[in-house]
Structure formats: structure tokens, C-alpha cells
Assembly symmetry: C2
Homo-oligomer: 344 residues x 2
DNA sequence: TAAAACTACTGAAACGTTAAAGTGAATGAA
DNA sequence: TTCATTCACTTTAACGTTTCAGTAGTTTTA
């Protein structure tokens, strides 16, 4: 089947290509007789014409494409979604983009920088970058003239829009909750504490809560690794090696918690009897585990929707003002925390 | 920052745009002096030039884009990845595409048909369609002249390449295993049994095993719903309503199994003591549940890799021959099955 | 030493669109 | 009646590339 172009439609309808374009795009400033409109529509349908969006984008400088960059947690590890959080977020982004006539250009990100170009290359209308941007030079990013939304990144730069949550506050709430439940030796278990990342903030919140309760910070209570199931398991073993000092843990991601539960089980530690867990994210998984996870809930679908909305707004208004969007959190009590002692 | 085009580079280097194109693409039939090559490369670097892939694709009819269509299990339900299988598969597809210089154009699919056009619209080089194609007319799909890979679909049409697994055989193995473990009343729990879908095949495999063991098929043992956690929970309640007849279940997706476990727990049914479960897929989750799932393992990363490879091969060779690729399965024994009675 | 072949380029056309400017006819206003 | 305006289009150029067909100049061949 030959590719059919706008010219073929024009010929079929006996009009110029421009007229076809006007009809198909309902260009507001142009008036086309309803008769011609009918003829063009008819011809297009008959030839089964679909416009070539690449060509359109070339000419109109509008691609209806949103670039999405999602981290690959470990270089060399091919599972981009070792943290299901990303999958759920992507799912929401995809849905809302599609509802607004946009397609997604998806790329994973590793520890090099060439995906800056995905944007310039393909002329995307906007870019959503999830997580700490791993590319080296922010400058190259800033040079892109499409709106950029940073999700869960603490890079403060007015060139970018940002969407996030009160990470520090959430961590404080989680930790305080454990304290209120009678725990004083509380582990902090997270992925890497990189700059601009959410985990550093959550660490701060953890410290805030301890300090407010007059509990000294214990370096031995800090566990930092990668955000995946395996690290959770490992952390459980490390916990034993360090002498099982804590009665509770604040864990910065549900997947890690899942692994932690597994690792604990393997060593005959009971959750929550031996160790209570408050987790973070409330991914779909959190309710599935056994015990189900008491966790800080964030509205992931909403986060994705907002990301798309910010792009759309920026594209439509042409405005460049930096917007910052912080979504609410709340603690969901499930079964991974046990009250301790009668004193609290 | 102004967009810099090939002409700017040409001017900077003092050559024609054509020469720049030749240098940058190392067009094999063209000879360019190393001196000029250097000059062009230098100019491109200096101006920070990135080629516009849309324009390239227009001209060369090659986009280095792979379209990926992934089902949205329920219309109106916005979580495309309610089955984590899709996330893991997508992750692998993305990784391998990127390693080969391809980008992904991602779209979810709902119960309408307009994503046929994603391909023709954007001029993708190939399309990967995951799951039963929900669009109405296969004819429109066939008319696309890019290679199409159907993953996990039993549409037999030589216009498409297919990747799948021995669904029927896998289901038989799973069911036989339960029989070998002393079970005779075995439920079949799955998503919808639509035509061309994997579940119908798995149902057949289930029947095969029963028949071989001389166990009559019981309609009351068949549960069919949607592929998600919620349906698993519901199935557990339905099981009670129907009178708890079965001592085991073959479940066609790990997510459903997770829900089933949850629902069972809510009703004080013990897994595997009261009901044994053999599941299907072996997604990452399967090891995380409690009890962990005995399941039919399929190599999801490999499936994604193959899908990309089939597209690449077809693009490079230009061949149109239909290829069919069946990946191996194996049973992974974990903790969700209990041997029953002393008789087996 | 003329013809052939090769080297290192360049110019023009094409890919499929849209945007801007132009055009001729009909209508309206002064 | 004449000029301006509106209507319903069309022509031309441009978007940023690649591809094809040249074209001088140099080298090889016979």
C-alpha cells in the first residue's frame, strides 16, 4: 500500500493541498465552504489518509510529543522498573498525555548524558524527567527551549518546573509515628543519598523527628543502598550483622520494605513483632505484602497527571514562569507496625 | 537559543549542507577528505549541532522509532500497568531498543482503534503490540508497511511476526503438578477468555491435564475476570460463595494470585494449607508474596529483547517472511503449594 | 595522449506538511 | 460608480534533512 499524502487527497478532491490542510485542521482564520469541506473529508476518508505528524511537526514546530525520561536504577541492570513506582507514574503520564492528544517518547536514563538530545532531536513539545537527573550538565538541559518538568528532584532552578511532595515532612511524620508507637531505636533505610535527591530530604525529616523527641542520632542505624528488592534483603542481613539494635525502621521505598520483610523472614525475624516498618510511596504493592505495609501514601496517578498538565499549560500559554507543585501526603496504617511497651 | 540546522554547520565549515550530511552519516559511497571531515566535525561541535530526526525521517523514510502498544486492562481504569508483567516487558523493550539506537513511541491501548495510526502518523520503523490487539480491524493493521510484532497473541496471520510461549503446555504442566501433589479439585482462575488471547490457551492446557488424569471438568471450578489484584480478591470471595470445593487453583497471572492470597487471608483461609496455588508469569512480585508463589516462569526480559530483535532484523533485511518465536517455560517451586493426602 | 575512472565535492529536488501572502470574484459601502 | 471588504480559495516558500545527479579536477589505464 502506497503512502498517501495530502497531495493525493487534494487531487482526489480537486482542490489545493493547502485547502485540504485547512479543512483537516479547521484553521480558524480560514473560511472554507461547507461544500468543499465535505468533498475534502470524503476524499480523505476514501483514500484512508492519515497526516504525517513528522512532517507537520517540521513545518509547524509542534510535535504533540512529550519526552519522558525515567531512571534505570542501576547501570547494566536492565530492569528500569525495579521500582514499581516508576511504572505506576509512567502509566498515569501515558494516560493523561493520550487523553490530550499527545504521544510519549520514552527513554530510560543511565549514567551518561546523551538523552538531552532526545528532546532536541525529535522536537518534543515538553520533557518530563523523573528522579534526579543523572546527566552531567544541567546547562545543556536548560538550553532546550521546550518546557521541562522535573519530578521528584530538588534541583532548584527556575528554568524548570517541578513536581514533588513534602519529602522531609513525610519522613518526619513516619518517624514520629514510630516514636509515638513506643520505638526509640529506629533504623533509616534508603537508596542512595545523592544530592538533589528525595532521599536526602527524607533523611533530614528522619533526623528532625529524632531530634524533636530527644533521641540521639546513631550512625549504625543508617542503611543506604539501592532502591530495589535485593537491597531490602541485604539490609535485613546487615541489620543482623550490626547486632539487631533497632526495633523499627523507616524505609524510604516500598520495594525496599518488601525485600526487608523477605530478608527478615529468612532469618526468622518477625515483622512487625521484632521489627516495625513504616515505608514510603504506597505503590500498589504495599497492600499486597504480608504483613501489608504501613506507609506514607503519595498520590502517584495525580503526580503523573500534574506532570502532563504542567507541560500542557506551558505549551499553550507559552509562559516561561517557573511553577512548583507540591502534592499532599498522608500516613496509611496497615499491619507492619507494632506498638511497643506500655509506656508510650 | 536558536535552533541550529545543518545549514549553519555548513556555513561555519565553508562547505555545502550535503557535505555535512555525508560527513555526519559517514555515507559509505561518498569520499570526503579527512581535512574537510575534521572541519565539519569541528563546526558541528562548536555550534552544538544535533540533527533533527523528524526531518531526517521525512527524507530518508527511516525514523529509528519503535511504536509500542500496551493494553490498558480496563477502560476507564488508568493504570496501564495493573499487571506488572507489562512494566517488566516494557522495561526490557526500552533497554534493548535504546542499545540499538532506537527510541520508543509509547501508547496504551483501549477499546477503540485509533492507535493504528500512531504508526503511520509518526512513521515508526516497527511496531510491537503486546497482548490481544484490541482494535477492531486487523485489516488496517495489515495495511501498515512497517514490521509488526505481536507479543502474546494467537492471531495467526503471516503479515505479523509473533512472540509467545507455550501457553497451553505451561498450563498443562502447572495443572499436572497440582495433580501430582495430590489435588483433584482444581480451580482455574484467569482474566477474560477472549479469542486469540493467551488465557484461552491456558484454559486448554488446564483441560488437557485434567483429562489425562481422568478428572472430569467442573464448570463451577472456572473463574474468569480481569487481570488484576482486585479480581484475585474477588475470586477468593466467590470461591467461598461457591462452597469451597477446590483444594487448589491454577491461576493464569501472578497479580491475580496476589489478590487471591489477600482475599483468602481476609476470610481466614490459609495458603497453601487450605488452597494450593500454581501461578503463571513469574513477575518480580512472585517471590515477594507471602507465601511466595510457585509459578510457571517465563523469561520476560528475553521476551522484550526478542521483540526488539525481530523488528531490527525485519528492518535491516527488508524481508517480509513471517517469523514465529516461542520461548521456553519452566515451573518454579516456591511456597504456595502443599502436598495433599498420602496417596499421591 | 586521449579516454576512462576516480576523488571530492556541490546543487537541486524531494520527503509531507503548514504559514504567509496573494488572487480573483462577489458583495457592500459611500 | 468606484473603492473597500469579504469570501474561498491558490501559490509560494519554508521546516531540516537526504538522495540523486551532476561537475570540475586529478589520476589511472591502454
Amino acid at each position: 500500500m502506497k503512502r498517501v499524502s495530502i497531495k493525493d487527497v487534494a487531487r482526489e478532491a480537486g482542490v489545493s493541498a493547502t485547502t485540504v490542510s485547512y479543512v483537516l485542521n479547521r484553521t480558524p482564520s480560514e473560511t472554507i465552504s461547507s461544500e468543499t469541506t465535505q468533498r475534502v473529508l470524503e476524499a480523505a476518508r476514501k483514500l484512508n489518509y492519515v497526516p504525517n505528524l513528522n512532517a507537520r511537526s517540521l513545518s509547524s514546530r509542534k510535535s504533540n510529543l512529550i519526552g519522558v525520561l525515567i531512571p534505570q536504577t542501576e547501570p547494566g541492570k536492565e530492569l528500569m522498573f525495579s521500582n514499581p513506582f516508576y511504572g505506576e507514574l509512567l502509566s498515569s503520564i501515558e494516560y493523561h498525555a493520550r487523553q490530550n492528544g499527545y504521544h510519549l517518547l520514552l527513554s530510560g536514563t543511565q549514567e551518561d548524558q546523551d538523552y538531552v538530545n532526545i528532546a532536541r532531536n525529535r522536537g518534543v513539545d515538553g520533557i518530563i524527567i523523573v528522579g534526579t537527573y543523572p546527566g552531567r550538565n544541567l546547562e545543556a538541559l536548560k538550553a532546550i527551549d521546550a518546557p521541562i518538568v522535573l519530578v521528584d528532584s530538588y534541583v532548584k532552578d527556575t528554568s524548570f518546573h517541578t513536581i514533588g511532595i513534602e519529602d522531609r515532612e513525610g519522613a518526619r511524620i513516619a518517624t514520629e509515628y514510630l516514636i509515638r508507637m513506643g520505638h526509640r531505636d529506629i533504623a533509616f533505610i534508603s537508596g542512595s543519598l545523592r544530592e538533589h535527591g528525595v532521599n536526602s530530604k527524607r533523611y533530614q525529616g528522619y533526623c528532625d523527628a529524632l531530634q524533636a523527641a530527644g533521641i540521639p542520632l546513631d550512625e549504625q542505624a543508617i542503611y543506604s543502598g539501592t532502591v530495589d528488592y535485593e537491597y531490602g534483603i541485604e539490609a535485613a542481613y546487615e541489620y543482623m550483622r550490626r547486632g539487631q539494635k533497632q526495633t523499627a525502621a523507616f524505609v524510604t521505598a516500598d520495594v525496599i520494605s518488601m525485600g526487608l520483610i523477605k530478608g527478615a523472614l529468612e532469618q526468622n525475624l518477625r515483622i512487625p513483632e521484632d521489627v516495625s516498618i513504616v515505608s514510603f510511596d504506597d505503590v500498589y504493592l504495599a497492600q499486597m505484602s504480608y504483613p501489608s505495609l504501613t506507609t506514607i501514601h503519595q498520590n502517584i496517578p495525580e503526580k503523573g497527571a500534574m506532570a502532563v498538565q504542567l507541560i500542557l499549560d506551558a505549551v499553550q500559554s507559552g509562559r516561561k514562569e517557573h511553577t512548583e507543585c507540591i502534592l499532599p501526603l498522608r500516613l496509611i496504617e496497615r499491619d507492619s507496625v507494632k506498638r511497643r511497651g506500655g509506656d508510650a
